[in-house]
Amino acid sequence: MRQWEFFMTDVTDLTLIEQQMLLAIMRLHPNAYGVSIRDEIKTRINKEYSFGSIYAVLERLENGGLIESREGEATAVRGGRKKLYFTIAGAGEKALQASLNAMDAMRSGVKLKGAFA
């Protein structure tokens, strides 16, 4: 998806995995990279995405201008290889906020069986 295509759609149209990625990137800031993003999502919601899925979503988000990537320093843990870090952009924060607001608006007043709130 190209940048102009992304903005043709409503910013509330983030998918669940896109929301999860953006939230994981925000939580891990400034150390969000492939492995840490996957681990964060796995720890919090017990769902393990493959690296292929993660990078496919990250590419979509980066093409849409919602996140930015930068190459980090080489570390001994990775055998001298560099990490590709991701940070959320201003547009990403706005899109996430709008998307979560939309979800909250839909959820408001609905009582789910067995829900705590």
Partner: protein, 201 residues
């Protein structure tokens, strides 16, 4: 200066293939004693021959022969005490001992994942692989998990693409499936048929 240590057992090396141990020994890092080798342990004698210049003599310990072994990604630390001597050695892990992930799987990723994130994805897979090994997992199991991660990364994308353009389209449009590698080859073939194109401005 020499120590009295004649036999030094490093059980941690049990997960390193025997062939690799022999290679490392031949690289003049330490001696490999085939008589005392078993599947789970390797016996190293003449420990003073481990990179002698790196030996850091610590306080003399009056204790019976004792040894501890620590391993990190790139280094091997050996702490040993025997009789009245103690030594602490840090040696770089020989290149041959750093187990590599399966090459074919790496190639598959290289072919199927777009160039933009290919390197990052391969590095992430490698980090996982080395992490598995450092937890004490066997090489075979770590490789199996690596293959699982690779297939888990590739297959959903291929299926999604197949759903979008169909199996026939997938086969016909091979360069799209295999990223830039084959599209580059296809372009090279096309341009080879029209040599004048390469000189066009």
């Amino acid at each position: 200066m020499s120590t009295e240590i004649t036999h030094f057992k490093i059980s941690h090396f049990g997960r390193v293939p025997r062939k690799k141990l022999v290679e490392a020994a031949e690289a003049n890092l330490w001696h490999y004693d085939s008589n005392n080798f078993s599947q789970s342990t390797v016996t190293i004698d003449a420990i003073t021959e481990i990179a002698a210049s790196n030996i850091d003599w610590t306080e003399v310990a009056d204790q019976a022969a004792a040894a501890a072994f620590e391993s990190a990604e790139r280094n091997i630390w050996i702490h040993a005490a025997a009789g009245s001597a103690a030594l602490s050695v840090t040696i770089p892990r020989p290149a041959s001992l750093r187990t590599e992930p399966p090459r074919v799987a790496e190639l598959l990723v290289g072919w199927c994942i777009k160039k933009r994130y290919r390197k990052a994805l391969l590095d992430d897979l490698d980090e996982d692989f080395q992490h598995d090994l450092s937890k004490g997992m066997t090489v075979a199991r770590a490789r199996l998990r690596y293959w699982g991660s690779v297939l888990g990364s590739i297959i959903p994308q291929l299926l999604a693409l197949a759903k979008r353009i169909g199996i026939v389209g997938l086969i016909a449009d091979t360069p799209v499936v295999f990223g830039e590698n084959l599209s580059g080859l296809a372009a090279a073939r096309r341009y080879a048929a029209y040599p004048d194109l390469s000189t066009m401005q």
